[in-house]
């Protein structure tokens, strides 16, 4: 995928990548001639498709580690819930509890966190806008 500044007929250069943490991705590209900036925004499915190829938009800043994709994307039971976190989760209505649990689990997994605690749930709730969960 490349971006062209039509007005200048110039190939735009990658400038910056952002991962807001909600599964989306934002990559900005800048025209080297006129300085115009455009952003490419991908939805979670599109972001995942890029991730599944083991490549990074904007290039890698560090070399790939062994089993990088498996470690970060394969769901395992390696995630621990503290007793306080389990108690809080139990207060979530049962019909949405599974979904809420997955949101917290994904949040922790994306950040390499192996234990979910009430403090982490508070942080996640604030960052993801999940008031009431």
């Amino acid at each position: 995928m490349k971006f062209l500044c039509v007005e200048c007929d110039q190939q735009m250069a990658f400038a910056e990548r952002e991962l807001p943490g909600d599964g989306t991705l934002a990559a900005t590209f800048k025209c080297p001639k006129c300085g115009r900036v455009v952003a490419m925004l991908t939805n979670p499915m599109e972001t995942q498709l890029v991730s599944s190829l083991g490549v990074e938009i904007g290039g890698r800043t560090v070399p790939a580690e062994p089993f990088e994709m498996i470690r970060t994307n394969v769901v395992t039971g390696g995630l621990a819930w503290s007793s306080d976190a389990q108690e809080r989760l139990s207060r979530v209505p049962s019909f949405v509890r599974g979904m809420v649990k997955k949101i917290y689990a994904d949040y922790a997994k994306e950040r390499g966190i192996t234990e979910i605690t009430p403090a982490l749930m508070d942080t996640a709730r604030a960052e993801l806008g999940l008031e009431g969960m």
């Binding site: 490349k2 190939q11 995942q48 190829l53 904007g58 290039g59 062994p66 089993f67």
Partner: protein, 266 residues
């Protein structure tokens, strides 16, 4: 307005270079592996994993250094067949293969999953079919490129039914692997396996031979002989319902012979 191929400025993302680096990593890792053999069949339930595991053990007993890569990511059975289920994970801190029965080295997705849990990937559930296949191909690539196999005389790849994983393998390896085909005697198996063998021929794989499994019981037919005649390759083993260690040792010897024959033909 210029088109895609007319834009030739260096791309900082370098996606093509990143893919190239992945291929290079696989090639470098497998440089010390003398022979890669894909054990495949177009049909499920014919005993590919069983044959793979016992062939590996037979080769190991003959003094060869053997590895098994369990490429059946959704139905991994190699840990159960080669023992050492207690070894939980191969990780980035410990990227070596697990050593199983008779000294066979192996890697399997089964080592990464909880008991009885399906293979699942983190990611958006909606339209997961779009990216799941690519995830599985990436997992296969990491097994090939990241496991520190060391010097191996033979690396057996236990493929799931069908040809999809084989095609992914050809793409990741850059060269089609030699293929050992497993069938059961029935005409239904013959017809399904034929399609897989044609795919292997179309991709340029050497066909080492056919293993006819589950012979001598209720399953009737001549699939092994039919396919051998059609593809002009030998039936390298007919595995009875209750094989002995000798059965596998003889198959190992024949596969080694097939290797020599193929190399001499070149």
């Amino acid at each position: 307005m210029r088109t895609y191929h007319q834009l030739t400025d260096p791309d900082r993302s370098g996606l093509a270079d990143q893919i190239g680096a992945q291929r290079k990593r696989v090639a470098e890792r497998l440089a010390a592996v003398q022979r890669i053999v894909a054990v495949m069949s177009g049909k499920g339930g014919v005993g590919k994993s069983y044959v793979t595991a016992h062939l590996a053990r037979g080769l190991a007993r003959a003094g060869r250094s053997v590895g098994v890569l369990d490429a059946d990511l959704n139905g991994p059975t190699i840990p159960a067949l080669l023992g050492n289920r207690d070894v939980r994970r191969t990780t980035h801190e410990n990227p070596g293969p697990t050593t199983g029965t008779d000294g066979v080295k192996y890697i399997s997705m089964g080592q990464f999953l909880d008991e009885g849990a399906p293979l699942a990937f983190a990611g958006p559930a909606a339209e997961s079919f779009v990216w799941r296949g690519a995830m599985e191909a990436s997992a296969l690539r990491e097994f090939l490129g990241d496991v520190e196999w060391g010097d191996l005389e033979v690396l057996l790849l236990d493929l799931p039914p069908g040809v999809q994983r084989y095609i992914e393998l050809c793409d990741i390896l850059g060269n089609p692997p030699a293929v050992l085909t497993v069938t059961i005697p029935t005409p239904e198996s013959r017809d399904a396996v034929r399609r897989a063998m044609r795919a292997a021929v179309d991709h340029g794989s050497d066909l080492l031979g056919i293993v006819e499994n589950m012979v001598g019981g209720e399953l009737k037919g001549t699939a092994g002989d039919d396919l051998a005649a059609e593809f002009a390759i030998p039936v390298v083993a007919r595995i009875p319902w209750h094989p002995t260690a000798d059965t596998w040792d003889q198959l190992g010897a024949r596969i080694s012979g097939a290797r020599r024959t193929t190399d001499e033909a070149r």
